[in-house]
């Protein structure tokens, strides 16, 4: 399974990663090799095998509907790259 440059760029875009020209080929080779490695799975017959999402096959526990958190905005926004009157700032989002 080898990927062409456009596929690599498409995946990068999907992952919101920017790959510079010079490293594209390296990513291309590495990703292709990794896919070759995992493609061994295709040979396995798994008909009727229930996919396993968790080792324990346990079930979801429920939380009581109570408010346990209080306002810590100042504390949390101290570590934010850019804020203004309580909002996180980003370049204009067009809709």
């Amino acid at each position: 399974m080898s990927l062409d440059t456009n596929q690599v760029l498409a995946i990068a875009d999907l992952s919101r990663l920017q790959i510079d020209e010079k490293s594209i080929t390296e990513f291309q080779t590495n990703l292709s090799n990794i896919l070759d490695l995992v493609d061994q799975l295709q040979a396995v017959d798994t008909t009727g095998v229930e996919p396993m999402a968790h080792p324990m096959d346990a079930v979801q526990r429920l939380r009581a509907d109570v408010v346990t958190e209080d306002n810590k905005r100042e504390k949390f926004q101290k570590i934010a790259p850019s804020t203004a009157d309580g909002h996180y700032l980003v370049p204009k989002v067009v809709e």
């Binding site: 079930v59 526990r61 109570v66 408010v67 203004a84 996180y88 980003v90 067009v94």
Partner: protein
């Protein structure tokens, strides 16, 4: 060419839980930006979701209310997409195994007619934050308070055939979720939002045409308008032999048009997969039945009861049952008044008119159901006239008093229904108006009903607050005695 309209709705309803679906942050509406966004809602590294039991209960309650299959096993999936108001870079939702499967509701088609619409599914998911575009000099401000507020997304089958049906369906859903108390149904605050999928196909054609999705329409009226303009737009294109592009569109209420949402046109591949931080939600019959036992009387059932037990018309019953608040108000008033028909006419007539005129909802009405009941009790007992009732109603509304009986006295609205007293007055009136009497007696039998009018007027002038029916009878009798 004749076209058939095909509409499917996706309604997002915020569940009225105290805390968020996967965190202990408050869901209160209208708090200062990001004061209800905590480590979980901010998607800080290392935080993990834990599912809110009330959100589950409410979703199951909804499923039972629309007679749907309940997912005894439901699974949360991650829907991956990058957006500044989606802190984790994915939304936790349910793709393949939703909590609510196929169900149905009956929508009102007017004149008491209804139509059944199938509901494909309803799944649990988390709401996103909000982007504020004004006031941050060229940038956008992100408020994540709404992040993680529990939602059920209710997906209809593409069975709606007109903008009217679509809004009727939306209304009915609002009425159901508010009856259940699982959502406040507040459209202006975004507690309920609607995405409309619209397409056209030549009448009689089996397969669907290409659809467009109109996002986040926030009022019943706009659902109708948005769909109508979109139908026109599509029809123009198709009539000119053009073709529709499948896309997401936005309804501009001011311009009354829909336009393409370019930002959403970036080809999206959501890469759904089961959220490994959450486990399958497993419920059993016992759990479901316990919830079924808590189901309130729903609009359908109430409507039926109003018709059967109280002889209301299908139309009146339908309107009164549509909103839980209205229905409760009506029933309390009717019980006290001792007459459902009088009360129904009043609530649907004068009361509704007053609400519309003052643009307030039944929950904020200054005249309590008890007070209206007391007023109408007097009407039923003919102690006051219908006009008198209006006076008392308006007096209470405008804060001139609160005790119905006191007001009736103060305003001198008590009707004299005592015959002997009225007989005296009538005798006097006849004595004072010989010419009228003569004229009456010369009137042929078949015209007399009309000719009696002046006597009634005179009698009521002579004695305020006499019961017109009684006056009429006494007059007839007296005049006939004269020949």
């Amino acid at each position: 060419m004749e076209w058939e309209v095909v509409i499917g709705l996706e309604i997002h309803a915020q569940l009225a839980t105290k805390s968020k679906i996967f965190s202990g942050s408050s869901t209160q509406y209208g708090a200062e930006a990001n004061t209800q966004a905590n480590i979980y809602d901010l998607g800080l590294p290392g935080v993990l979701p834990v599912f809110n039991e009330e959100a589950l209960r409410m979703a199951v309650k909804f499923g039972l209310a629309i007679d749907a299959e309940i997912g005894m096993k439901s699974v949360f999936d991650r829907k991956n997409y990058f957006y500044p108001d989606s802190p984790k870079g994915y939304q936790i939702t349910q793709l393949h195994e939703p909590i609510v499967g196929m169900g149905h509701i009956d929508i009102d088609m007017g004149e008491g007619k209804t139509r059944r619409i199938n509901v494909t599914r309803a799944h649990l998911e988390e709401d996103a934050g909000k982007s504020v575009h004004e006031g941050f000099d060229g940038q956008s401000g992100i408020d994540l308070n709404r992040c993680g507020t529990p939602l059920i997304e209710i997906v209809s089958e593409p069975e709606l055939r007109s903008s009217k049906e679509a809004s009727a369906y939306f209304r009915k859903m609002q009425s159901i979720v508010t009856y259940l108390g699982i959502c406040d149904g507040n459209l202006s605050q975004g507690s309920m939002r609607c995405d409309c999928n619209v397409s056209l196909r030549p009448k009689g054609q089996e397969e669907f045409g290409t659809r467009t999705e109109i996002k986040n329409v926030n009022s019943f009226k706009n659902v109708e308008r948005a769909i109508e303009v979109e139908i026109e737009r599509q029809m123009d294109i198709l009539e000119d032999g053009g073709s529709i592009t499948q896309e997401t569109r936005l309804f501009d209420a001011d311009k009354n048009e829909t336009r393409s949402m370019r930002s959403k046109e970036v080809a999206n591949d959501y890469r759904y997969f089961p959220d490994p931080d959450l486990l399958p939600v497993i419920i059993d019959e016992e759990y479901v039945e316990a919830i079924r036992a808590t189901l309130p009387e729903l609009p359908e059932q109430k409507k039926a009861r109003f018709e059967a037990e109280h002889g209301l018309s299908a139309y009146n019953a339908g309107v009164l049952a549509a909103s839980r608040e209205m229905a409760d108000y009506f029933e309390v008033a009717a019980e006290i008044a001792g007459d459902y028909k009088i009360t129904a006419n009043w609530v649907m007539g004068d009361l509704s008119a007053a609400l519309n005129k003052n643009e307030i909802s039944i929950t904020d009405i200054p005249v309590s159901a008890e007070q209206l009941g007391a007023i109408l009790k007097n009407v039923k007992g003919s102690d006051i006239s219908n006009d008198g009732a209006k006076e008392v109603f308006n007096a209470i509304w405008s804060g001139k008093g609160s005790d119905v009986d006191q007001l009736i006295d103060q305003l001198g609205l008590k009707q004299v229904s005592d015959t002997s007293a009225i007989e005296e007055v009538v005798a006097q009136v006849l004595a004072d108006n010989p010419k009228l009497v003569e004229g009456y007696l010369n009137t042929p039998e078949d015209k007399r009903a009309k000719a009696i009018g002046p006597f009634i007027g005179a009698t009521r002038k002579a004695a305020k607050g006499v019961n017109p029916q009684v006056v009429m009878e006494v007059l007839k009798q007296k005049l006939n005695e004269l020949g």
